[in-house]
């Protein structure tokens, strides 16, 4: 047993069973733990209470339009990769009460939603998803306005990151320099080996959560095995997205015939926008009592693939699927950069896996580039 807490920046080894104590420490500190769980034949993100909730021994198989959960390496808790859920559903909930309105004596009063959000600890955040959180930070925290709902969740967040031990054919984080290696912005980061976790301490809060765990300074052997594991993952990544000519490539090709071609395959289902960890668009709706005197205003995720999204009085500014797919892709890979200083894509590959017809954003860009204007 180590007598004191590790320094920030230290590399440690931790017996896998000791992660249970980290979870207990987080819970004792008031955190609600969110991590991967096996549910409905998919690995989703939900509340976890202990190590046994993690999908030990399971991994996913991903391809364009395909996802299967299959047995993986027995002793591994984090053998899987990103699934249909992303962390945005906790920081930027799919449904969020904004405020209430009440009518008394002929006048309205407006009351902000005051319930304090849970303090979340995210367990098993991949490098691409850490980057995605940083991208949404720019949208909700760094602009002229600050979203208090996002800010409250974000500021109390604890991040336990995981270096990916393998890559899926849909992964392309390397092209966007967002992974697979976790490089910062975490409290604790672990690399899973067959027998132990190799742990990196990213913050004081992270160090604090190692109280009463049997951590040891990482041996040179463990550290190099952890390095090797990430290197191997990196070499597994085959998918590429060239970014050096973005955003210009897309701005110069807004009338490219490929937009018509992809519109014939796209179903406008909006899956890509829902699974995307950076997509942030929302709409609002009111629900009132029958008398219309008590109203609750709710913010909901929206998708630029719906017709309603671009409705204006007397018409619609993007009536065609071609226009809507073009909006989505040019936002991700062009205008996002103008708006927020980085692309809106982190290379997680979710939009490719969860597209029911297997449209690959990487292939669409390639096709546009091949016959670019």
């Amino acid at each position: 047993m180590a007598p004191s807490l590790p320094r920030v920046g230290a590399r440690l080894t931790l017996a896998k069973s000791s992660l249970e104590q980290v979870f207990a420490n987080l819970r004792a500190a008031g955190f609600t733990l969110i991590g991967p769980r096996l549910r409905d034949a998919a690995l989703v993100l939900e509340e976890v209470t202990g190590l046994n909730d993690l999908p030990r021994g399971w991994r996913d198989q991903q391809a364009p339009g395909q996802y299967r959960v299959v047995p993986g390496q027995d002793s591994f808790y984090f053998d899987h990769l990103v699934g249909p859920h992303s962390w945005k559903q906790f920081l930027h909930p799919a449904r969020l009460k904004l405020f209430g309105a009440a009518k008394n004596n002929g006048t309205w009063s407006f009351q902000s939603a005051t319930a304090p959000p849970p303090r979340y600890a995210f367990i098993g955040v991949r490098a691409c998803d850490l980057a995605a959180i940083a991208r949404q930070d720019r949208v909700f925290l760094a602009g002229e306005f600050r979203d208090p709902h996002y800010a409250a969740r974000r500021e109390s967040l604890f991040l336990l990151a995981v270096n990916c031990g393998r890559a899926a054919p849909t992964c392309f984080c390397r092209s966007l320099q967002t992974g697979p290696r976790v490089t910062g912005g975490f409290d604790l980061a672990l690399t899973e080996l067959a027998d132990v976790f190799v742990l990196e301490v990213g913050s004081e809060a992270g160090a604090e959560m190692l109280r009463e765990t049997a951590w040891q300074p990482a041996t040179a052997l463990h550290a190099s095995r952890a390095e090797e594991a990430v290197r191997q993952t990196e070499s597994q990544i085959e998918r590429e997205l060239r970014t050096d000519d973005l955003p210009k490539l897309l701005y110069d090709n807004l009338e490219h015939p490929r937009w018509d071609e992809v519109a014939r395959r796209c179903l406008a289902c909006g899956n890509c926008t829902l699974v995307c960890p950076t997509c942030f668009c929302t709409t609002v709706e009111d629900a009132s009592n029958l008398a219309g005197t008590r109203v609750e205003r709710t913010r909901l995720w929206d998708s630029c693939f719906t017709l309603d999204f671009s409705h204006v009085h007397g018409g619609n500014s993007r009536p065609t699927l071609r226009a809507r797919y073009r909006q989505w892709l040019t936002h991700k890979l062009a205008s996002w950069k103008d708006q927020f200083g980085a692309l809106g894509c982190v290379g997680c590959g979710r939009c490719i896996t969860w597209c029911p017809v297997g449209i690959e954003l990487t292939e669409e860009v390639k096709a546009i580039r091949e016959k670019a204007a």
Binding site: S317, P319, A323
Partner: protein
């Protein structure tokens, strides 16, 4: 690119989506299906601090119906009474149509960019509006009238579908007398109409302008603005001298909802008033 002039106090609100309470002080029918609502903020401190610039908009909220982005159409020098000229076109505006003096609603703002009046000072200004598009330009006219001598020639080119659709016509005489050269046209004339018939961009053929000293502000249907810009550029106006006010679906006005994107532009932040040169690659593009 134009910039947002949203006041610091509006930006600093703890919850930017939470409206303030406003009360209807007056309702003035302007045309069929169009009325101007004069609103006052209920909180005396908020009302006293409220300022807006010509071209900016507020989010008006009717609980149970929803929220809409509406330009301020009243005098920026009298910001305690906030005028909104509203065409009853959708579910929220049809709800707003029922409001009577004394009724309450939600209001937050002002948001967005403003017409760059400072660029028009000492120069000629051509204001070109179609239909309800005159509403966000009325504060420009009223601001010019406060300081008429600061500007060169000021022209208003305005058109509507039919004569009864024209807004603020009872003010035109005063504007004209105060030195705003006003040209009006309608798409379809009635029997008693003695004015021009035809689309707004054609009014350019009735005026002479000096491209070296002219600034154009335009607001109306996009198809109208396209041809207004065409006529202005055909008269050798630089692209940088043309400003337009754009409209897209808008849910939040604070850059979170994503609906009002026009290429890289968030119309709620860099817009609604934009310099043509900055958006030229996207403007007029089909289904964009």
């Amino acid at each position: 690119m134009s910039v947002s002039f949203t006041p610091a106090a509006v930006r600093a609100r703890a919850d930017p989506m939470l409206p303030g309470l406003a009360v209807v002080r007056g309702v003035k029918p302007e045309a069929y299906g169009v009325s101007t609502f004069s609103l006052a903020l209920a909180d005396p401190a908020e009302a006293a601090a409220y300022r807006f610039l010509p071209g900016q908009f507020n989010m008006l909220y009717l609980p149970g119906f929803g929220e809409v982005a509406i330009s301020v159409s009243s005098d920026p020098f009298e910001p305690q009474l906030i005028g909104h000229t509203i065409r009853f076109a959708g579910s929220v505006t049809r709800g707003l149509a029922r409001l009577q003096p004394g009724d309450a609603l939600g209001l937050r703002g002002p948001y967005g960019s403003a017409w760059p009046l400072e660029q028009a000072r000492g120069r000629d200004l051509v204001i070109v509006a179609g239909g309800i598009g005159l509403a966000p330009l009325r504060p420009v006219v009223l601001s010019v009238l406060r300081e008429r001598a600061a500007y060169g020639r000021v022209l208003l080119l305005y058109g509507g579908r039919t004569p009864p659709d024209l807004l603020y016509t009872e003010e035109f005489e005063r504007w004209q007398a105060a030195g705003i050269e006003t040209h009006v046209t309608v798409d379809r004339a009635s029997e008693d109409w003695r004015g021009q018939v035809g689309v707004v961009p054609q009014l350019f053929y009735r005026i002479r302008l000096d491209p070296r000293r002219t600034v154009v502000f335009t607001c109306g249907p996009e198809i109208m603005m396209r041809f207004v810009i065409y006529e202005a550029l055909a008269r050798r106006l630089p692209k940088e001298g043309v400003y337009l006010s754009m409209e897209r679906n808008m849910k939040c006005a604070v850059g979170f909802c994503g609906h009002c994107q026009f290429g890289p532009t968030f119309l709620c932040r860099q817009g609604p008033v934009l310099n043509f040169a900055a958006i030229e690659p996207f403007f007029g593009r089909e289904d964009f």
